[in-house]
Subunit: 425 residues, 2 copies
């Protein structure tokens, strides 16, 4: 397996660092629009793991917005797999470039949605991933695999759904991805500050888009933002957090392969973050359209959303000042294999102090990066295989979860996952 | 009386329009940095009241930031009174210009405060009006009067305090100014929108400054923003609104002339507005310091607070789309003249539809403008007189409130004010 990793931002960087501890591939070329960023990742691997390990890594410049250039770099390095680790805005071009180069493809977020033009809070327009599934025939005919949505959410959550369907339930009522964290960022003086661990620009996009829900009878439909709030109890000391519906890939992926009555995604934004997003929307500060503003050099045109991002601390710099854990998981309900009511929460928790120490990577970013590396290893070993455009739930979940949980000294990733019985809680 | 009105913005314009129905003065010169704005006010008066009335008005250009220019314009028009109707930022220069020209002076907001450098949420630094009171000796020696804080709040609220002390109480526990409104602004489609009726820039300044409180034993002290929330019931259908401590002139004025145990100012911001202001502060979007932001023409420097103002509808344009009432008043408690516990709310309500129809002025702005005109009339008739730097509570409240409430056809302003007994409510 020869991997072209596109993007050496937070997640791309962590993918390379996690893969550096494994040996299932022949080469990984880390590529970025800014080649120096890709080189930094390889230099970190060299410093931490030595020249031998680093010799399996290369660095390259790439323009992810250009499918020809993606195909060119993939061919040049004889890539068998293109791993997309950049903003979802560039899914279509990397997706096309990989197919053109005859490589398999993986991503962690799918092609973007467009709201319904007249009824956005009830009906879907263009859904997440629609553009990619429309091209499934091309991938099948080429005998190539596009494994889409293979991060942590979507990704691990979808693996959990497959596992629940195959091993825990005879009849599934709801598959509900639930994500929450107790991360805290402090300033130099030790005071808690408001500093999201990920791009506020993307969070605004994700959270203010109409959330999507799937039901067996109704199919896919949308709701107003922040709908169906519920307080979900997260494990390992994270505790109760207010979760709301958010547009996410799981809802478009799971129903394609798994039989359930209802599929949802709720994000544990917490009351403060929900208030922040609602207020930004109320004031028009979520807008990506420029407004005219006075400045010392005369009037200028800036997008309010860019100003919000500029006024907050840079998420790339807050890892060392952050403490706490993030939890990704799937809450499932229905009838167990014995035919009796069952409710479980399958989850994985990532601790920022541990990921910073082990990988110089923030826990949210690191947790996202872990899962595509496991998937690549299963594909390299031939344990997973397929062609066409497939989600993680199209594959057997058992070997994924085993490899993930197995201790490192026994050949696994040493990342325990949990199963909590929730009925009656 | 010859009045130089400085500022033909919302309040200045309304002062001229209200005065146009009265005859206590010889001339009013409306001045503005933008002379066309002053001319528009005079043209409105001419169109509404005819050339005769308009002949008592003139228009002039003025630079309020230059005391020499203020004095020059005042002398040129032989002004006996300078009426300051611009942003409080320009109080020091107009104040100085009036004295230099040998004119009396009135304003509706006082010289700005500066927070305590190390303990801003407990101790006062430079208080509102400190700069003006420091010059009281100059005004006394010159035999000239500076009547400061003579709008609605401060202004009418201080008149109510004097009235309460002279006619309603034998011992005052608390003088608490309480301000609230039920104003609603709609977009073209009739949907309610978030559109403050006054500059968000100024509101941020006012509400995020440490609020000031006075107590007989402690003197003046400050608190964190939004302290001591209470739900206050406003009259005439406005109803209950959450009010919080806000920095305001009444608290520095009333204790200088009236004996009370405690003096407060609470503003009925309402929960939504408080949330907005807190969120802006949390995200650093209240900041007036420029941040670097990407734009289509490369990085630019803008102050987040300017972007917030630019993203909201222009307050100058919303009058015709606004409905509702605003209420200014004083809640006072203590022992009545009979020595028994008493609690009253003295208030004045202004209805936007009425002020728009009668004056083409938004109700918040119009209500502010009404009171200095009444005060000027009392000074012109010799009913009020004095020298030095004095607040409205230094004068007899009875003739003010009588002239205000008397019907227009009987020579008054036709503006009823209310007194509600509140004990036990």
């Amino acid at each position: 397996m020869r991997i072209l990793l596109v993007g050496a931002g937070g997640v791309g960087d962590a993918i390379a660092k996690i893969a550096a501890r494994r040996d299932f591939y022949e080469q990984i070329v880390v590529s970025d629009y800014d080649k120096a960023r890709a080189e930094r990742t390889v230099a970190w691997i060299s410093a931490r793991h030595g020249a031998d390990v680093a010799s399996r890594f290369g660095a390259a410049q790439i323009d992810a917005s250009d499918p020809d250039r993606v195909a060119e770099v993939a061919r040049e390095h004889r890539a068998t797999h293109v791993m997309n680790a950049v903003e979802p805005l560039f899914v279509p071009t990397i997706f096309a470039g990989a197919l053109a180069a005859g490589a398999d493809y993986l991503d962690m977020a799918m092609s973007l949605s467009e709201p319904h033009p007249t009824d956005p809070h009830a009906r879907t327009g263009v859904k997440l991933g629609d553009d990619q599934f429309a091209q499934a025939g091309d991938w099948e005919r080429a005998g190539r695999l596009a494994l889409v949505g293979m991060g942590v959410e979507p990704g691990l959550s979808d693996v959990f759904a497959r596992y629940a369907a195959d091993h825990l339930f005879s009849d599934i009522e709801e598959l509900g991805t639930r994500d929450g964290a107790n991360l805290v960022v402090r300033d130099e003086a030790g005071n808690e500050i408001f500093a999201p661990g990920f791009s506020i620009w993307t969070t605004i996009e994700e959270c203010l888009n109409p959330p999507i829900v799937w039901e067996r009878d109704a199919g896919w439909f949308t709701t107003p933002p922040f709908s169906e709030p519920e307080v979900f109890e997260f494990p390992e000391g994270i505790g109760p957090i207010e979760c709301v519906n958010v547009e996410h890939e799981e809802v478009v992926l799971m129903p394609r392969w798994i039989d359930a009555k209802r599929v949802t995604f709720k994000y544990g934004l917490g009351e403060e973050f929900i208030t922040v997003l609602k207020t930004l929307h109320l004031l028009g500060l979520d807008s990506a359209m420029p407004v005219r503003v006075r400045s010392e050099n005369g009037p200028v045109e800036v997008a309010p959303r860019d100003v919000v991002a500029a006024a907050l601390p840079d998420p790339a710099t807050i890892g060392p000042r952050m403490t706490g854990k993030t939890c990704a998981g799937l809450w499932a309900s229905g009838l167990g294999v014995d035919g009796r009511p069952r409710e479980v929460y399958l989850y994985h928790v990532s601790d920022n102090e541990w990921t910073m120490r082990e990988y110089d990577a923030q826990c949210v970013v690191w947790q996202t990066a872990l899962n595509p590396v496991i998937a690549l290893e299963l594909l390299a070993r031939g344990i997973w295989s397929g062609s066409g455009v497939l989600g993680p739930e199209a594959f057997d979940a058992q070997p994924f979860l085993e490899l993930m949980a197995l201790p490192e000294d026994s050949g696994g990733y040493g990342q325990a996952w949990g199963l909590e019985e929730r009925l009656g809680r």
